[in-house]
Amino acid sequence: MNKNKRLNTKQMEKENWINEVMQSTKGMNPVEASPFLFEKIAFKIEQKESDEMQETSFFKTWALAATFVVTINIVSFIYTQKDKPLQQKEQGYAALSKEMGLTETTNY
């Protein structure tokens, strides 16, 4: 009987302690933020904007360089394509004349 009573008291003590802990933040005062907060924020915004600008100019330079390289490639491709039919024709004639046993002559 006494043992039960002691256990109940211990349990109650524990419950009380938990309740007190749960209520321990009641009535607390808010903490003041730094008085220079706005200045720090303004500095961070400025820094972020200049970083973003640098990043953008870096990408712009790369995009410009890449466009230049691609353009040169396209132009050179077009030129090689232009010469191709003539080259192919000459190669075709040479193969045909070889097959038919003809000798290449040039008439002036």
Binding site: I18, T25, M28, N29, P30, V31, S34, I41, K44
Partner: protein, 187 residues
């Protein structure tokens, strides 16, 4: 408030909401310097997304939402870092002693006689899952109505109610574990 974000209305916003943001961050992060950093980041984001703010919720709800998200992101990053450096952090790099990282957060706004108990509470809050932690801090410490908490968390009042019930039950379980420590401290 003006339509376009500029320094003038940002300064007004900072003046009005700086303590709300700083204190909320302090309750989540339990670290003064980190809370200050997050407060700055929150206002940088406020500045950047001010033009997108559609006034579907109040300014304070919107700022609370940004603050909560920033804090949770920060805690997640910290957890990842801890996991990554778990082995190296087990021992002190110079002395080789075993390190134990136990939160001993002393909230500067709490009365002296309640400080020790509040320390236990903050330690237990740290163990809660993200959603329960958010609901509990906003309701119990920030003392916001459940409707506003639901708006901040973008969920329903019923969901918030259930989160709070689970949070309280989990906190009680966690505090039961710490009860013997309290008795040892008193001896």
């Amino acid at each position: 408030m003006n339509d376009k974000p500029n320094e003038y209305n940002l300064q007004q916003l900072v003046e009005t909401y700086k303590n709300l943001v700083f204190n909320t961050a302090l309750h989540f992060l339990q670290h003064r310097e980190e809370a200050e950093d997050i407060t700055q980041d929150v206002f940088v984001e406020v500045y950047q997304s001010l033009a997108k703010f559609k006034e579907q919720s109040s300014v304070s709800t919107w700022i609370y939402r940004i603050t909560v998200n920033k804090c949770l992101d920060h805690l997640r990053a910290k957890k990842r870092q801890k996991r990554f450096g778990f082995i190296t952090n087990l021992f002190h790099p110079e002395t080789g002693e075993i390190l134990h990282e136990i939160s001993h957060f002393d909230h500067p706004g709490i009365e002296l006689e309640k400080k020790e108990k509040a320390r236990f509470l903050f330690r237990a809050i740290e163990q809660l899952p993200e959603n329960q932690k958010t609901a509990f801090i906003l309701w119990h410490i920030e003392e916001l109505p459940q409707k506003e908490i639901a708006e901040i968390m973008q969920s329903s009042v019923k969901a918030v109610e259930s989160l709070l019930q689970r949070a309280k039950a989990n906190l009680r379980k966690e505090l039961e574990k710490h009860y013997p420590e309290r008795r040892n401290e008193q001896k």
